[in-house]
Every structure is written in structure tokens, then in C-alpha cells.
Amino acid sequence: MLTYLGAIFLQQGDTTRFDLMKQAAVNPDLSKFLVIGALLFIIGVAGVLTRRNIIVIFMSIELILNAANLNFIAFSRYLSAMGNVNAVAGQIFAVFVIVVAAAEAAIGLGIVIALYRNKETIWVDEIDLLKW
């Protein structure tokens, strides 16, 4: 597995190792975006599952959404580099996701306020209204 990751970060070939790294930094390829997206996603999921503060959970959800956005953009870039004229769809999706995230944040924070007014807490382990 280490060999595999190494192969992603440090491509070997005819050119020098530094050249490769520089090229990768200036013009990263698709896999790097995907890896970063996956990391963001995992962080977000971990936050949703582990944090008790509902605000933080919200923020984690934003991370998940942005991981998805990153994937969209990455694929859009990749596909346009491949010559696909319809690749702009990924960017449009990202804009949609941002809009939806904004709306969700507005409603979600409203729910949080309402919840707090009723329950006087924003710790999720004290809220079990979904039971039964």
C-alpha cells in the first residue's frame, strides 16, 4: 500500500524526481483532487458521528458537501482537459450544491434555535425525540 501511495505522490520515470513534484504541484492531476476530497469527506463524516455539539455537526456537514464540490470541480476540469465540451456541468452542480448548502444552513440554524428554545440544549446526546 505504501508503494501505491508513493506511486501517486512521487511518480517515477525518465524525468527527475523534483521535476515531477514541481509539475505535480503546479498542475496536479485528478487523483490528487480525489484524495483530498476523500479526506475532507472522511473528516466530515467523523465530525458528524462523533461531535456532540449540533453546530459542529453542521459544520461537518459543510465539509462533506465541500468534499463533493471538490470532486465535481475536479472531474469537470479533468473532462474539459480531455476535450469534453459538456464538462461545465460539474461546475454548475457545484454552484447548485453551494446554494443548497446555504439554504440548508439557514433552515438548520433556525431548527437549532427552535430546538434550543424548547429543550435548552444543543448537545445531541440529550435529544432523543426520534425514539419511538
Partner: protein
């Protein structure tokens, strides 16, 4: 013009449909209903006349051959039957039955009779049925009848004939039962229908036989093949004899011949125009049409010819003797019709088919005339049908009287009225026939029947139109009253007022004749209650819509016979069959099969080929058999037929013409004797009738009770059928119902057992298991429901991971396997 004959049956059907379907809903007036009905029939009549004229007289290229509407495309493939085996399965034929109409000499005569006489009767009915509640229904049925009758006579195959045959049977049933609220009419309609079923059974079997033998139902094909079959003499009983037997059973039912005649007199329960149209002029002659149509088949079976002749003769004398003693004017005419139908079958049986059809035609004229005249009398007498309450109507109903007179002279056989020509020809052909043995018996019986006919018709005339005006008098005591009382019991003249107004009597417009009607009812009650004197009602002449048809028919009954002037008058007319096409024998020749040439006759061909009967007696009467065999005569075909009356007479006169005249004089003399006797008994010496009825008491009683045929059938057939029905019913209700009920009881028992098992064992088991599982499993599932969102999210994520792991299992293994 003949290509439009498909309209002839269709027009009355359309009229009937309009009247029947819309007449009640839209409240058609009587004038409109009558106009539609009469108009449709009149149009059909005009088309018939034009078609027959252009076919027979307009130089039609195929004149003697039948014209089928399929030649001009007015037909359709009605029953695509597929392959049928013929000749006992030896061959197969493709049976396709088409719906097309056939115009040939026979069907054209019937078309003209049905539409022409029908038109007169329709016009009469508009007057007679005036004020009836079911006016639209009556004309719808009548139109439907015209359609069925025209299909019967115009169809080009046996199946169409059968359709028409059943159609007229249905309409007869409907119209006899027109006053269905009267028990008598309802019974009579059922009787007619059921009796006809017996005949239809034979007819249907004959059609099956025809299809199985010839592989076709089309007349043209069947007769073309039948021509070449060998002739079955007496003693030989082949397939054509069987077919002819079936056909004749059908004809017996429809034409009221001896074993099956019982329905026709009862059919008089229907309205009088129905009696005139269906039970005198057209439907009952369908049997004659069928026998003549299939004369090829009948002439192949000498046995069946003999049977036809003997049944006809027996029916003629049987019905004529009953007619002598009946007192109901319509009953007399009904038995007269049966008797005349017997004459027609007599003609067919002795091989003179054209003469039989000639008598159909003249009979249609004079019998329709007499029935309508009787209707007019009944109408004028305000409900009265009993001749003993009539008399002297000459003064009150002159038109009816004079037209009825023409019918009377015609049926008695007075020269030159129409009945004379046809009846005389029948008797002459019976005497001179070489088709069958026993021709002289047929002649003798026919002559006696003709005497009886003249007698009872004179009696009817005398009791109705001449003599004392008995309706003015108190009812005579004794026998008359007794008979009247029995008529009451039979429901002929019911006791109470409600029934009296529902009889076969046209209701009159309110205010016109209501008085007499009520008086009449009062009279019935009074006669039977206290026997006191009562006021009489004065008869009146019928309206023009009724006597104009009478006048038309009277002209036809007088002059109609001139189309069939017999060969005996050849010295006067110059030819044996004067009139060319207009002579009915010449006209019908192309459809009559000649057993000598084994071909159909030629229309204008020589008399030798054209008229087999006439050629026979032309041969020397001496040395029959061997000498004649070489001449190709009918006698050679049918062999020695024993004693022949005409030949015997000719042997002593040595002149053919003199022989014919001797028979004409005999028939005129017997007609005169009958009329004179009638006059003596009922005009000059009325007391004689009572004296002689006492002297011949047994005969009188037998005749008055119609020889107890109805009682006999009641005892042997009707009661036995009902016994059988009762036996079957009790078998059904005891054994079959018992089995069914027992089985039902067993299933109920079984279902209770099964139900208990289900309820206590199966349900109990299911409930126990369910309760056990619920108690065991519920804590586990309950524990999973924490209510914490994060738990659920965790499950989702885990599930997602599992899904991804499964979906990419191969790739993941490939990566880590490296």
C-alpha cells in the same frame, strides 16, 4: 328491375322496425302507423310487379332460368360452412350458404300473392283494427310476417326457406296471441307454435339430408344433382324418399294437413286480418310452395307422391265434413281452408304441381276475400261471430254481401269464377294421373269434399246474409242456447263485461258504438241470468278502408281463374294453355321437373314435354303399359298404376275432349248439388236442418266435435307429456334434489369440522408462535431504536461502507492482493 328484388322483403321489415321500435315511444298516430305499414307493402308490391314483368315479359335474356340476386352482387356469404361429407363420407363438398334472393316463375307468383293480397289485407286492417290499444304492435308483427314470408318464398336455398319458415311461424304465434290477455288466444298461439315444431323437426331433418346427400343447400345445385337420381317406385325407399318424407312432414305442420291440422282452427283466436293473411292466403300455403319447389325430389319418390295425395284427399274430406256443423263463422272458414289446402296437396300428389300452385293463388284470392268479409261482418255485428245470431245481413251490409257472394261462387266452383278452374283441374288431374295408383280414390274423395264445400259455404251464406234477421230476436231456446252456453264455457263468449270487451273484436271509438256494446254484454248476462228479453243492435256497413279491399279481392276472385283455363276448353281458346306466359301452367313449366325427359320443362316448349299429365291421356287408353312404354310417357316412368278412371271413361267415349268435359260437368253438377242442398236446408226448408241433424245424430255429433281429434291428442299426447313432465319433476325434486341437498348437508358438516380445526388448532398455533416470537425478539429491536441521530447516521455510514465494499469488492481485492 329484377336486381332490386332484395328490396321486396326489406321494405316491410323496415316498416315493421319503425312501427315496432318507435310506434309506442313516439306515440305514432294510427294514420301514421297504417301509412308506414301500407306504404312499405305497397312499394314492395310495385317492385314485385315491375320485377316479375321485366323478368317474364320484358324479354329477360335468361327468362326460364332462375335469376339470383347474387348475379348482380346483392348477396353475401351467409354461412361459410366449410367442408361437409357427402355420399356417406365418400366425398367432400364445400358448403357455403349465401343470402341471395331467387326470382323464378314459382317465387314470382308467391311474391305477387304475398305482396298483392297482403296489401289488400293491410288496408283492410287499418280499418278493422281501428281503436285497438296495440295498433303499432299489430302492424309491426304484420310487417315482420311479410318479411319472413317473402324470405321464405324468395330465398335461393333451403336454409333461407327455413329462416322464413320459422319467421312466419313466430309471427303466426305472435299474431294469434295478439289478444294475449285472453286465455283462449294465448293457448291457441302456443298450440300453433308447438304443432308447427313437429313439422319443423321433419323439415330440419330433410335439410340435413339434403346437405348430406348433395353437399349444397342452393336450390339450383341440389335440383341439378337430384335430376340424375333413379326414380324410387312404390316399394323402393331410397334417400330421396326419406328427404321427401321429412319435407312433407314439415309441409303438414305448416299447411295444417291431417295429423297436424289441429292448430289452424284454433288460430282463429287472432284478429281477422291475421286469419286472412296468415291462416288463409299466405303462410299456410308455404307447405305447397315447398313441395312444388322440391317437385324434383317428390317426383323421384312415387311412394311419397301417393302419401301426399292421400293425405291431401283425407284432409279435404275430413275438414269439409267438420265445416258443415260449425257455427262460428271464422271456424267454418278455417276448416274450409284446411280442406282447400288438402285439395292443393292432392294436386301435388298426383303430379300436377302447377295446378296446386294455381289453386294456392285462386284460394288466396277468394279465401282472403271471405275472411275479410267475415271480419267486416264481425265488425258490423259488434263482436258477434256466431252465425246463429246473424241472418239477413244482405240489407245492412250490401258491399260486404256482394263481395262475399263472389267468394262463395268461387269456392263452390261455379264457372267462370276462379275456384272453378283450379278445383276442376285438380279433380281432372286426380282422375287421369299416371304418377300414382289410386287416382280414382283421390278423385272420388275430392269430388265428395267439393260437394261438402259447396254445401257448407251455402250454409254460411244463408245463415249470415239471408233469411230472418235473428239478431233482432230473442235467442232461440234449445240446442242453440246450449251450444252457446258451451261456447261460453270455452271462453268464446265470456261471461263478464271485461272479457267481452277484450274479445277478437275491434273496439270502436268512444261514443260511437259504446251503447250497443254494453247492451250486448247486458244481453249476455240477461240471457244467462234470467232469460229475459233484451234489445238488439243493428249491424252497419263497414268503412271504405274495409270494403274497398273487399271489392279488389272480389274482382280477383271472379277473374283470377282466367290465367289457368284448362285444356278442355281448347276448342274455344284454340290452344291447350291459352295466354302464353300469362297462363299459369306455361308460366310454371320451367320449375317443374319432367320425369320422362328427366329435365326441367321448357317454358314454351311443345305440350308433349311441357305437360306430362296431358300427354298421358292422349295416348290410346287401351293397351297401357307395353304400348305406352315406347311413347316415353309418364306411365312408362312410374309403371303400371292400376285402374285409371279417366282412361276407363275415355275407353267408352273414345274421345279425349269428351272425357274432359264429362269430368267438368261432374264437378259442376256436384257443386250445384251442394249449393242446392245448402239452399234447401237453410233457405227454403230451414226445419230440415234440425230433422236431418237428428236423423244423422252420430255423424252430426262427431262432426260438431271435430271428430274428437283435439280430445284424442289431449289424451294421448298432451296429458302423457304432462304426466312425463310430472314424473320427471318428481324424479328431479326427490332424487336429484335429494342428492344435491344431501351433498350440501355433507359439505356443511365438513366445513364445520374444518372450521373448528382452523379456529382452534391452526389459529392457536399461529397465535402461540407469534406471541413467542414477539416476546423474544422485541427487546432486541427496541434497543436499536435509540432516538439519537448520530446512531442512525452511523448505521447509514456503515451501510454505505458495506455497499461500497461489496460493489468494489473485486477492485479492492485486486489492489490489496498485490
Amino acid at each position: 328491375m329484377q336486381k332490386y328484388i332484395w328490396l321486396v322483403p326489406l321494405l316491410p321489415l323496415i316498416g315493421a322496425a319503425i312501427n315496432g321500435l318507435l310506434g309506442r315511444k313516439l306515440r305514432f298516430s294510427e294514420r301514421l302507423i297504417g301509412g308506414i305499414a301500407v306504404g312499405s307493402v305497397a312499394l314492395a308490391f310495385l317492385i314485385s310487379v315491375a320485377a316479375v314483368y321485366s323478368y317474364g315479359f320484358g324479354g329477360h335474356p335468361e327468362w326460364p332460368k332462375p335469376y339470383l340476386t347474387s348475379q348482380d352482387g346483392f348477396s353475401f356469404n351467409w354461412i361459410p360452412g366449410g367442408a361437409v361429407s357427402v355420399n356417406h363420407g365418400a366425398q367432400y363438398a364445400l358448403l357455403n350458404i349465401e343470402w341471395s334472393y331467387q326470382l323464378d316463375p314459382l317465387s314470382s307468383i308467391f311474391m305477387l300473392i304475398v305482396t298483392g293480397v297482403g296489401l289488400c289485407i293491410f288496408v283492410f286492417a287499418t280499418g278493422y283494427m281501428h281503436g285497438e290499444t296495440g295498433f303499432y304492435r299489430f302492424f309491426a308483427y304484420m310487417g315482420l310476417f311479410m318479411f319472413a314470408m317473402l324470405v321464405l318464398v324468395m330465398g335461393s336455398n333451403f336454409l333461407m326457406m327455413f329462416v322464413g319458415w320459422e319467421g312466419v311461424g313466430l309471427c303466426s304465434y305472435l299474431l294469434i296471441g295478439y289478444y294475449f290477455d285472453r286465455q283462449e288466444a294465448a293457448n291457441a298461439s302456443r298450440k300453433a307454435f308447438i304443432t308447427n315444431r313437429v313439422g319443423d323437426f321433419g323439415f330440419a331433418l330433410a335439410i340435413f339430408g339434403i346437405i348430406a346427400t348433395f353437399g349444397s343447400a342452393q336450390y339450383v345445385n341440389v335440383f341439378e344433382q337430384a335430376k340424375s337420381y333413379p326414380i324410387e317406385l312404390i316399394g323402393h325407399w331410397g334417400v330421396l324418399s326419406w328427404i321427401a318424407l321429412g319435407l312433407f312432414i314439415g309441409a303438414c305442420g305448416k299447411s295444417a294437413q291431417l295429423p297436424l291440422h289441429v292448430w289452424l282452427p284454433d288460430a282463429m283466436a287472432g284478429p281477422t286480418p291475421v286469419s286472412a293473411l296468415i291462416h288463409a292466403a299466405t303462410m299456410v300455403t308455404a307447405g305447397l310452395y315447398m313441395v312444388t319447389r322440391t317437385n324434383v325430389i317428390f317426383q323421384h319418390s312415387q311412394t311419397m307422391l301417393l302419401v301426399v295425395a292421400l293425405v291431401g284427399a283425407a284432409t279435404a274430406i275430413f275438414a269439409a265434413t267438420i265445416g258443415i256443423t260449425q257455427n262460428d263463422i271464422k271456424k267454418v272458414l278455417a276448416y274450409s281452408t284446411v280442406s282447400q289446402l288438402g285439395f292443393m296437396f292432392m294436386a301435388c300428389g298426383v303430379g300436377a304441381f302447377a295446378i296446386g300452385i294455381f289453386h294456392v293463388m285462386t284460394h288466396a284470392f277468394f279465401k282472403a276475400l271471405m275472411f275479410l268479409g267475415a271480419g267486416s261482418v264481425i265488425h258490423g255485428m259488434h263482436h258477434e261471430q256466431d252465425m246463429r245470431r246473424m241472418g239477413g245481413l244482405k240489407k245492412y251490409m250490401p258491399y260486404t254481401y256482394w263481395t262475399f257472394m263472389a267468394g262463395w261462387l268461387a269456392i263452390c266452383g261455379v264457372i267462370p269464377f276462379s275456384g272453378f278452374w283450379s278445383k276442376d283441374e285438380i279433380l281432372w288431374n286426380a282422375a287421369s294421373t299416371t304418377h300414382i295408383p289410386l287416382g280414382w280414390v283421390v278423385w272420388l274423395v275430392g269430388t265428395i269434399a267439393a260437394t261438402c264445400t259447396a254445401f257448407y259455404m251455402t250454409r254460411l251464406m244463408a245463415m249470415t246474409f239471408w233469411g230472418r234477421e235473428r239478431f233482432l230476436e230473442a235467442p232461440a231456446g234449445g240446442e242453440a242456447d246450449e251450444a252457446h252456453a258451451s261456447a261460453y264455457d270455452k271462453g268464446l263468449a265470456p261471461h263478464d263485461a271485461t272479457f267481452a270487451s277484450a274479445g277478437d273484436r275491434p273496439r270502436h271509438e268512444p261514443g260511437e258504438h259504446v251503447g250497443p256494446v254494453h247492451e250486448n254484454v247486458a244481453h249476455h248476462v240477461a240471457t244467462h241470468g234470467h232469460g229475459e228479453h233484451h234489445g238488439a243492435h243493428i249491424p252497419h256497413e263497414s268503412p271504405p278502408s274495409m270494403w274497398v279491399p273487399l271489392a279488389v279481392l272480389a274482382v280477383l276472385a271472379t277473374l283470377g281463374g282466367l290465367v289457368g283455363i284448362g285444356p278442355a276448353f281448347r276448342t274455344l281458346t284454340g290452344t291447350e294453355h291459352p295466354g302464353g306466359h300469362l297462363n299459369i301452367v306455361t308460366w310454371l313449366n320451367p320449375i317443374i321437373w319432367n320425369p320422362v325427359t328427366r329435365e326441367f320443362n321448357t317454358p314454351e316448349g311443345g305440350h308433349e314435354a311441357a305437360a306430362p299429365i296431358e300427354t298421358t291421356h292422349a295416348a290410346p287408353p287401351v293397351a297401357e303399359g307395353a304400348a305406352e312404354a315406347g311413347h316415353g310417357s309418364v306411365a312408362a316412368v312410374y309403371g303400371d298404376t292400376g285402374f285409371n278412371l279417366a282412361h276407363a271413361v275415355e275407353g267408352s267415349t273414345h274421345s279425349e275432349l269428351a272425357t274432359e268435359w264429362i269430368f267438368i260437368i261432374i264437378s259442376l253438377v256436384v257443386a250445384g248439388i251442394g249449393m242446392l242442398l245448402g239452399g234447401l236446408f237453410y233457405v227454403w226448408r230451414p226445419a230440415l236442418a234440425g230433422v236431418w241433424s237428428q236423423r244423422l245424430r252420430p255423424l252430426y255429433v262427431a262432426s260438431y266435435n271435430k271428430y274428437w281429434v283435439d280430445e284424442f291428442y289431449g289424451l294421448t299426447v298432451t296429458r302423457r307429456t304432462m304426466d312425463l313432465a310430472r314424473a320427471v319433476f318428481s324424479f328431479d325434486s326427490r332424487l336429484v334434489d335429494g342428492i344435491v341437498n344431501g351433498l350440501a348437508w355433507l359439505s356443511r358438516l365438513f366445513s364445520r369440522i374444518v372450521g373448528g380445526f382452523d379456529k382452534y388448532f391452526v389459529d392457536g398455533l399461529v397465535n402461540t408462535v407469534a406471541a413467542f416470537i414477539m416476546r423474544l425478539m422485541s427487546p432486541l429491536f427496541r434497543a436499536a431504536q435509540t432516538g439519537f441521530t448520530q446512531n442512525y447516521a452511523l448505521v447509514m455510514v456503515l451501510g454505505l461502507m458495506v455497499a461500497v465494499a461489496v460493489f468494489f469488492a473485486r477492485d479492492i481485492l485486486a489492489v490489496f492482493g498485490r
